[in-house]
Structures are given as C-alpha cells and as structure tokens.
C-alpha cells in the first residue's frame, strides 16, 4: 500500500509535467499557426501597398509639366502667307521659322548650327504646332509679339522635376552641361515654370512624352464600354431570367449551364482569338474598332453577368412569385412586375463589377488590333466613332510602358492612376448600390 501511495504522486507529477510540456508545445504550435495566417495576410497587404505607392509616387508628377516662356513675334508674312487670315492660309504658314526666330531672340549669343539646334530642342518639338493652333484660334495675334508658355522637351522636364541628377558627370546624363547652363539662364529670368498638364487629358497619343495624352484612349474606352454594356446587359439578364425562372430541367438546360460556367473560366486571350477569326476574319468587321472590341468584351463579361443575375434572382423568395401567380399573373408578369425589380440592385451590382473587369481588360483587344498608334480620338457615338480605329486606356498603358523615354514611365503611372480611379469609382458605386438597396429576406 505504502509503495503505491509513494509511487502514485511521482507518476502523477511526471504525467502532469509531461502533459504540461505537451500542452505548451501544442499551444506554441497553435500560436505559430496563427502567426502564419497573420504573416500571409501581411504579405498580401505589403505587396498591395507597395504596388499602389510605387504607382502613385511615380505618376503624380505627370499631372504637371515644365513650361518655358518664349517671346514670339507672329510676323504676318510668315504666319499668313495668303494674307486673308483663313485656316488654309495659316496651315501654309511657316510657324517653324517663327519659332526658330523667337528662340534665336531669347538666346542671341548662341551661334553655330549645332548649338542653335540644341537650344531649340529644349522646347517641345511640337512647339510650332502649338503656335499655329493659337493663331488659328485667335487670328488677331497676327503681327503681334506675345509671351507664350510652351511645353519643355521631356528631357528638360525630367531635369526640372529632379529625375535627372545635375551633379552626375556629363556623360552619364542625357543632357549636356551647355544645355543645363541655358536652362539655368532661363530659370534665372523666371522663364521656367511648372504648370498643370492639361495636355495629358486633352491630347491623343504622341511620340513626344510632353505632348502625349490619354484623351483618345479614354474616348475609345468609353465607346467600347457603351457597346459592351448595351450588348451584355440585356442578353445577360435575359439569359439569367430564362435559366432561373423558365427553363425546364433537361439536358439542354444543363448544357447551357455547363457552358456558362466554363466560359467564365476561359482565358480572355481566347476571346480575342475568337474575335480575330470570326468578327474580323469571317465578317470583315473594321479592325481596331470599338465596335469589335466591345463585342469581344461583351462575350467575355457575359458569364459574369449571367452568374450574378442568376444569384440575385435566386435570392428573391418564392413566396413573391407564388403570390403573383395566385393573383392570376402569368409567369412572365410575375417575373417582370415583381421578381426582376426586386433583383435589380443585385443585377446592377454584378453588371458594374463585370464592366469594371472589361474596362481593365487588355489582352483580347491586342488580338483585334486595338494597339494602333492613335493620335486623333475616334468620332462620336452616332457619327461613325464605333468603326473608327481606336485604342483603350489599358492598351495605352501597355503601349507607353514599352517606350524607352524616361518621361513615359511617369505618363504610364499617371494613366494607371486614372484607370484605377475609374475602377475605384465603379466599385464604390457597386458597394453603395448593394448597401442601399439590398434586401434581406
């Protein structure tokens, strides 16, 4: 007896110790496991934050632009060769020479062909076109001498924004000591300034970063989205109504359902191949046009919208339908008068999310030739714009990201900021819609 009573506590303490150790180990492993989860979330968040910060910090500077003042004399003989101040006459006018003269006057001590050319290159190569536009808008400028702010060349712009280090040895930077001296001279005279870059929002694409803008791409995106929405919304909702409210349970309906689920997961580039082979190859539709782009994106977003619309139709309780049917309504009346209005907020939310997806899509549009270099924006919705060659914002981003000039990096980031803000607005709209109108049954 005594043996046992002595032994038991020893055994128990050992077991208690062992289980305490085990428990500690188990709790440690519990803690570690939890830590892994936190770590995983942190990784995702860190990447997201670094993505957004690199884009915003790299892009905000594109919203303003270095401009340089130039005193320009619009000599009548050069600007208006015909002397009638007509548009045709201005188009013939030698604005390049006007521009050259003005630069010469600002830098009287620069001589030699090469230096003269270099000093002109401080200004944007499109300067003379800007001067012409000014005169076309306001013919009273002819014969006058005015102070004009012209966009600086992209290298000067980069220097002024601090992306090029002035202290580097001359061979390591794209701008020479002489050029920097000229710019410093202008700076001292107060002829260099930062201004809001309105050209970024009003111009089309350009080889010159300081003149390149997103307007043509924005317009192309808008036209494409109009086509996509007007095709995909009615068709998607109608298909969802059929499948959810009318379709009998048979192999054919099953086939449609399997099809929709699979289409939702088909890579977007395959839709581009479809567009290329069928819309362009078979039907000879206009290449690079918002019409074809919109059709391809409509096919791509269709499954998203059908799935979303079906989910929100399903969420409407059957009692609503039964009540309507009980009052003598037909199936279609029950759906169109009662079920559909109740499901609409959910359907619209799904549609907006589908459209946001389509707005950011690039790959299928590359296939149907929407990668063209578009300077002039496409026409309006009812004036042939749907069949003009166009590009869209994501494709513009893709094109700019390939450009070698340093200044295009900034433009690309800025275009991404614009694209992301559109997406944020659309998603916020979807959230508001859901919060405000969603009903819990």
């Amino acid at each position: 007896m005594t043996d046992i009573t002595v032994e038991r506590p020893a055994d128990q303490t050992e077991r208690a110790e062992r289980s305490a150790r085990l428990l500690k180990k188990r709790h440690a492993s519990e803690f570690r496991f939890k830590l892994y989860g936190v770590f995983a979330i942190l990784v995702a968040l860190v990447v997201l934050v670094s993505l957004l910060t690199t884009i915003i910090s790299g892009g905000y500077s594109a919203f303003y632009q270095t401009e340089m003042q130039l005193e320009v004399t619009f000599t009548p003989e050069k600007v208006d060769p015909k002397g009638d101040q007509s548009e045709a006459s201005f188009k013939k006018g030698n604005f390049l020479s006007v521009f050259k003269e003005a630069v010469q006057k600002t830098f009287p001590d620069v001589t030699g062909r090469r230096d003269k050319k270099a000093v002109r290159a401080l200004y944007s190569p499109g300067s003379y076109l800007i001067l012409r536009e000014m005169v076309m808008e306001d013919p009273s400028l002819v014969g006058k001498t005015v102070k004009v702010w012209l966009p600086a060349d992209d290298v000067v712009d980069m220097l002024n924004k601090g992306f090029i280090d002035r202290n580097l040895p001359e061979t390591d930077r794209p701008i020479s000591d002489k050029e920097i001296a000229w710019i410093e001279k202008l700076e001292k005279a107060g002829h260099v300034e930062m201004a809001f870059n309105s050209r970024f929002f009003t111009n089309g694409n350009s080889r010159e970063p300081e003149l390149a803008g997103i307007w043509a791409a924005l317009k192309g995106s808008f036209l494409t989205m109009v086509v996509t929405l007007s095709l995909t919304f009615p068709v998607g909702v109608a298909a969802a109504i059929y499948l959810e409210e009318f379709a009998p349970k048979n192999p054919f309906t099953d086939l449609i359902e399997v099809n929709i689920n699979n289409l939702a997961a088909v890579p977007s580039i395959v839709f581009g191949l479809l567009g290329l082979a069928v819309f362009l190859g078979m039907f000879n539709m206009p290449r690079s046009s918002p019409l074809v782009g919109g059709m391809v994106l409509a096919l791509m977003t269709l499954p998203t919208i059908i799935i979303a619309a079906r989910a929100s139709l399903k969420a409407v309780p059957p009692s609503i339908r039964e009540a309507a049917l009980g009052m003598g309504a037909s199936r279609w009346q029950a759906v169109s008068h009662h079920v559909l209005p109740l499901a609409m907020p959910g359907i619209l939310t799904g549609t907006i999310i589908g459209m946001a997806q389509a707005l950011g899509e690039t790959a299928p549009l590359l296939m149907i030739g929407m990668v063209a270099f578009i300077v002039d924006p496409p026409g309006g919705l009812f004036s042939g714009g749907l069949t003009d060659a166009a590009t869209v914002l994501p494709v513009q981003i893709f094109l700019w990201s390939d450009m070698p000039e340093r200044a295009f990096v900034e433009k690309t980031n800025a275009a991404i900021i614009v694209l992301l803000s559109f997406l944020v607005v659309m998603n916020l709209l979807a959230i508001v819609l859901r919060k405000k109108f969603e009903r819990r049954w």
Binding site: A44, L45, V47, P234, A239, I269, T362, G384, P394, N413
Partner: protein
C-alpha cells in the same frame, strides 16, 4: 449614320403601333359584350412586336450582307487585268478601293480605274441604302397591317407576346453555347490549316521554337520551327512559381480570416484582399517589369547570382500575387462549407483550433482546395498581360527561374500583333497555341467543377 436614323424610325413606328393597337383594343371593350381575352396593353405590344421585330431582323441581316454583295459587284465591274492579280495584291486593291470610297488615304496614288471602281462602290452603297430603307419600312408596314387586322376580342395577345418574349430569352441563353462553339470551331479550323503546313508531331513534341519564317524563298537562316515544348515548359515554370506564392498565402489567409479573425478584422481585410483581384493585369505587368524585375535582379546580383532582366521569377511572383485573392476566396468558401459539427466534435475531444483545422477541417476540405488550386492554375496559364510585359520572347528550354522563358500567351500576342498575313504558318501557329491553351484550361475547369460538385454533395 443612316442606320441609326432607320433604327429610330422603326422604334418610333413600334411605339405608334403600340398606341394604336391599345386604342383599338380599348374600343373593343365598349362593344357588344365588352370582354376581351387580353389587356389592351398586350394588344399594343402584339402590334409593336410585329412592326419592330421582322423589320429589324431584315435590317440587321442586310447590313451584314450589303458589304459582301458590294464587293462582289465591284469585282465583277473590274477590268480583267485586275482580277488576275495575286491574292495579296488583290486584297490590297480592294482595301484601296474601300478607303477611296470612304474618303480615306490610299496606299498609293489611285489610278483612273481604281477611282472609277470606288465611285461604283459609293453608288452601289447609296443605292443599297435606299433600297434597304424602303424594304425595311415596307416590312414594318406589312407587320403592322397584319397585326392590326388580327386584333379581336378572342385574340390571345398576352400568350403570343409572352411566347415572343420567351423565344428572346431562349435565344439569349443559347448565345453562351454559340460562343463556345464559335471558339472551338474557329480555333480548330485555323489549327487545321496550321497542321497542314507543320506536322502535328513537330508542334507537340518539338524542342525548338522560332516562328520567324522566311519572307523570300532565297532567304537563309529563318526557316521557322514550331516545337511548342519550350513554350509549355516556360508556362508551367511561371505557373509553378505563381502557385508557390498564391497557394500558401491565399490558403493561410483564408484560414486565418475564416477561423481566427474577429468580425471587425475580417470586415476590413477581406475587401482589401479583394482589391488585389480588381487591379487590371496590365498594371501588374507594369509593376512586374519596372519594380519586381529590377528588385530581383539586384538582389540576385548582390548574392552573386546571374539573373536575366526578364526573369521567370519576377513574372511568376507578381502573377502569384494577382491570384492570391482568387485562391483565398475559393478556399474560404470551401473551408466554410465544412460542417460545423466536425469542428465541434474535434473541439469536444480537446483539440486546439490549429489541430482541429490541420487534422479535421483541411482533410475534409481537401477536394475543394484541390479544385480551387486547379482553377487558379488554369487562370495562371491563361494570364497574358503580366507575362507579355515581364517575361521574355526567347524560347529557352530551361527550369531555372532566374533565366528568361517565354509562355504560350506571350507567343500568341507577339505572333498576332503587328504586321501579319492571315495564311502564313506563323500567324496560324498562334491559333494552334490558342487551341492547346483552351483545351488545357477547359479540362482543368471541368475537373475542378466536378470535384466541387461531388464535394458539395457530400456535405449538403
């Protein structure tokens, strides 16, 4: 432009038809016994449908057909020497004529013949427009007359209108099938043309990919070889890297959010993770090319490794980040659908949360997680912009993540953007690659959906 006007006129006629039809039906209600089968609005709709639908169908059909007939008419009006041109020159000529007719620039100075043909085309189009408008309006009028004459107290207008609506609904749902068929047929057809030029065995098992074909017969060097193995190896390498990022991060964050996080944290973190899914892929591509690739390169160089500037690692990691929310939301669904009773039983036996998760919930959810990973892989394989911007074009057959590789989607894009002739092996090979891509993703999706369905049935 005139097509819009025609459309507006048709719409106006349909509305008028609706009003007249309704009016007529109202008049019937004041007749001898005053009882009509359908409500006046249904009669109105009945008339409107007869006015609008047949006319619109004809209009759409002829808009699609007029260019075809116009081209045929131009070809028949051509002088003989033009018709004998080679295929490429002939299509260039047709494009020139079209451009001239549309008032755009042509590729070269137009000859008198071409100008005459362009005028012929313009005249043809004008005539077609007039004939088309007359025919369409006549059909609308005939539809109206037919429907209006048919209005009668016993007319089952509601049933007929609803039948029309139902047909419209069915047609809309069938579009999904037509799309799939269109994809399959176009890919298979173009791939067939490709396999006539290049043997299917070379394509499937060849180890060398360089699609540059000779432009002239006497050109040396660029013979073009279409072995797709390097592309698939490159695709799988990048996909594997992406999965190494996406699966652990996505799965662990899903576990944490569903079983550990408080409601408040979940409410904040989940939408933030969803943002990752909403960012366009072109943005990820830019990030991969401009931030991630230099970062990896510099790190590698600091460690004394030789890293290509367009390494597979950079593209793969960023692609993994893109897929994180996809994996996490799918596995969240799966984990949540494991019945609570299983967890409670585990807790009742004294398991800690992590033990319960690791030994009960995850094994039970394994099929679902497998399906989620499969869907993620199929998405990674088909992803285009990230690899186009961050991975290279050179088809290296390597498994080293620090070297540059190319993928199927990159090759499709590079083969089909820029100048192309439609029948060259180079262009057609893109469709063969597309077909392989489609088959691969389709198989994975079907398997994944099967698994998910089976898994759901098990616990429902």
């Amino acid at each position: 432009m005139s097509i819009w006007i025609l459309f507006l006129i048709l719409l106006g006629l349909a509305i008028t038809g609706y009003i007249i039809g309704r009016q007529r039906a109202w008049q019937l209600t004041t007749g001898a016994n005053g009882i009509i089968h359908s409500r006046p609005g249904h009669h109105g709709m009945y008339v409107a449908i007869w006015v609008f639908v047949p006319a619109t169908l004809i209009a759409i059909l002829s808009v699609a057909l007029v260019p075809v007939f116009a081209t045929m008419s131009v070809v028949s009006a051509m002088p003989d020497h033009m018709r004998d041109l080679s295929e490429g020159a002939f299509s260039l000529l047709l494009t020139d004529i079209r451009n001239l007719a549309g008032g755009n620039a042509t590729s070269k100075e137009a000859s008198a013949d071409v100008v005459a043909l362009a005028q012929h085309l313009v005249a043809y189009r004008e005539n077609a427009k007039i004939i088309l408008s007359v025919v369409v309006l006549a059909i609308a009028g005939a539809g109206f007359a037919f429907a209006f004459k048919g209005i009668h107290p016993d007319l089952r207008a509601r049933n007929r209108v609803e039948l029309a609506i139902k047909i419209f609904l069915i047609v809309c749902s069938v579009i999904a099938i037509i799309t799939t068929l269109g994809i399959i047929l176009s890919l298979v057809f173009e791939s067939f043309l490709f396999f006539f030029k290049v043997s299917i065995f070379e394509f499937l098992f060849g180890l060398h990919w360089s699609p540059q074909t000779a432009l002239r017969a006497d050109q040396a060097g660029a013979s073009g070889s279409f072995g797709s193995i390097p592309l698939f190896v490159g695709t799988l390498l990048i996909t594997f890297i992406a999965m190494c990022v996406a699966v652990p991060v996505g799965l662990l964050s899903a576990i944490y959010l569903s079983d550990y996080a408080s409601d408040r944290i979940r409410g904040v973190v989940k939408p933030i993770l969803e943002i990752l899914a909403g960012i366009p892929t072109v943005v990820y591509g830019f990030f991969a090319a401009l931030t991630m690739a230099p970062l990896i390169r510099n790190t590698g160089e600091a460690l004394g490794l030789d890293v290509a500037s367009e390494s597979a690692l950079a593209a793969g990691v960023v692609m993994g980040v893109m897929i994180i929310p996809f994996v996490s939301s799918l596995s969240d669904d799966v984990i949540n659908s494991v019945p609570q009773s299983l967890r409670e039983a585990a807790f009742g036996l004294g398991a800690t949360k992590s033990e319960c998760l690791k030994q009960v919930v995850l094994p039970a959810a394994l099929p679902g997680i497998f399906a989620a990973v499969l869907l993620a892989i199929s998405r990674a394989i088909g992803e285009t912009m990230i690899v186009v911007m961050a991975a290279g074009l050179g088809a290296n057959l390597t498994l080293n993540p620090l070297e540059q590789v190319t993928t199927v989607t990159v090759q499709i894009v590079s083969l089909l953007t820029g100048d192309q002739e439609f029948d060259s092996a180079k262009t057609l090979s893109a469709f063969a690659l597309g077909l392989m891509l489609f088959i691969a993703t389709l198989t994975m999706n079907i398997v994944a959906l099967r698994v998910v369905r089976k898994y759901r049935e098990k616990y429902d």
